[in-house]
């Protein structure tokens, strides 16, 4: 058999096809092969997606549990238990800001932020950011913008009529304060059903219900345009204390499921 020139490099897409089939331990080791491979393995969303798909096929997807209770992050099962990420030994409070393309964004305590990749078990710290009020007053969310190949993290609050909106872009790697003006109507955390926004089509959504309103409203944050907007939902509903409310997305459509004794669905 005649091989072509010895020094011939394999096209990157083939290398990534091969890498996406590797177990976690090997992947982590091969982040030391070259800078480019390191950045792809750790941060590229397409690679993360292909790796998760391959892992699912092989049924080797590790189960990770993240909780809002003051517990440390549980790490992938094929890592020795003594090797917990040293920067997260005993976190005071872990808040899951959101996850996207296999990457999980986490706030620990009052000002620490991390990206966690459950497939590789690696934790990357983001720049610190302290906010003026407690994290329980914030709404937040995470999304990926395909046009700029960027991840953005939103943390926003309305507290005693004071707006505070911060955006973190992975590309610029800084927290930026977004000026609040009338079109930036930050939802009050007491009105939302879930602090974490639901991502759909590069927009974060929160279902809100002012105690005095029978109608529900949808507050959206456009990650690309960096503005909030509100939408009234075209139906009204009477609730009592035992009603469970939730918002979610069924693939391909924006649908809200509201559990009122029996399930019904409204489209928007």
């Amino acid at each position: 058999m005649v091989h072509k020139e010895e020094a011939e490099e394999l096209p990157e897409e083939i290398i990534l096809n091969i890498f996406s089939r590797l177990p976690v331990k090997s992947l982590i080791r091969f982040t030391c092969v070259s800078k480019r491979l390191r950045s792809i393995i750790l941060l590229d969303p397409k690679f993360a997606e292909s790796q998760i798909k391959a892992a699912r096929r092989q049924k080797t997807l590790n189960r990770i549990l993240l909780s809002n209770a003051p517990k440390p992050l549980r790490v992938p099962s094929d890592r020795p238990p003594s090797e917990e990420p040293s920067s997260v030994k005993k976190p005071p409070h872990v808040n899951l800001l959101g996850s996207c393309n296999g990457l999980v964004f986490v706030a620990v305590g009052e000002k620490l932020f991390y990206i966690y990749n459950p497939s590789t078990g690696l934790l990357k710290q983001l720049p610190d950011r302290s906010f003026s009020s407690h994290q329980n007053y914030y709404v937040y969310g995470v999304g990926y913008l395909s046009a700029t190949d960027d991840y953005k993290v939103l943390v926003a609050s309305t507290h005693i009529h004071k707006h505070e909106i911060f955006m973190f872009s992975l590309r610029t790697h800084v927290w930026e304060r977004i000026e609040s003006h009338s079109s930036n109507i930050v939802p009050d955390v007491t009105d939302v059903f879930d602090q974490q926004g639901t991502l759909f089509s590069e927009v974060l959504h929160w279902l809100i219900n002012d105690d005095f309103l029978i109608n529900y409203e949808l507050v959206c944050f456009d990650l690309a345009k960096e503005v909030f907007r509100r939408m009234e939902l075209p139906f009204g509903i009477l609730t009592n204390n035992s009603t469970k409310i939730g918002a979610g997305f069924v693939e391909g459509a924006c649908v809200y499921q509201i559990f009122v004794l029996t399930l019904f669905i409204c489209g928007s």
Binding site: H3, K4, P11, R29, S34
Partner: protein, 184 residues
């Protein structure tokens, strides 16, 4: 524009009065980079998207010899072997079981460099299932190898400085333990 069916008919006519042309299985002819000419069964050739597109898109006559400049003859032999088997087993009941047995035998004595060459060919000829199979075989081979082995195998240059490499390594030292001791 004539459809492939009409095209086939015109080929049969062009073949002339050489007898039972209708019964003859259609063949596609290709020439590899090292100058060898291969006759492929149409059903096997059509497993390769690159060949399929070449003939189907512009309704090129099957009499044309398609050049496969990036493929060596030994590589094509292996590809034909795999695809023929795949087509043969495709509609059988124990498809997966029999394919697995064939796959194990197929890669048995292949060197990593051979597998890499085949992955390139699978990519060029656009045979998805063959590419996936070869990539899986390579992944299985390298999973317990060290960083240097992978660099050499894929021809990737180390652009870390010594310190950067050591720092990266210390992030997860356990990932660098218990590896195959290998002769390059």
């Amino acid at each position: 524009m004539s459809t492939p069916a009409e095209n086939e008919a015109s080929i049969k006519q062009e073949s002339g009065p050489s007898g039972t042309v209708q019964d003859k299985p259609k063949k596609i002819v290709v020439r590899t980079g090292d100058g060898e000419v291969f006759e492929l069964k149409e059903e096997v050739a059509m497993e390769m998207e690159t060949i399929k597109t070449f003939f189907m898109e512009d309704n090129i006559s099957y009499e044309t010899v398609m050049p496969l400049t990036n493929v060596d003859s030994w590589e094509l032999v292996k590809v034909i072997e795999y695809c023929s088997k795949y087509v043969e087993l495709k509609n059988k009941e124990n498809f997966h079981k029999e394919l697995k047995a064939f796959q194990d035998e197929f890669v048995k004595s292949m060197s990593p460099k051979t597998l890499l060459s085949l992955s390139n060919v699978a990519n060029y000829l656009e045979i998805k299932y063959f590419l996936d199979f070869i990539c899986q075989a390579i992944a299985d081979h390298i999973k317990s190898k060290d960083v240097e082995y992978v660099r050499e195998l894929f021809g990737v240059e180390n652009d870390f400085t010594e310190e950067e490499y050591e720092m990266a390594k210390t992030e997860a030292p356990w990932a660098h333990e218990n590896l195959d001791k290998d002769l390059y």
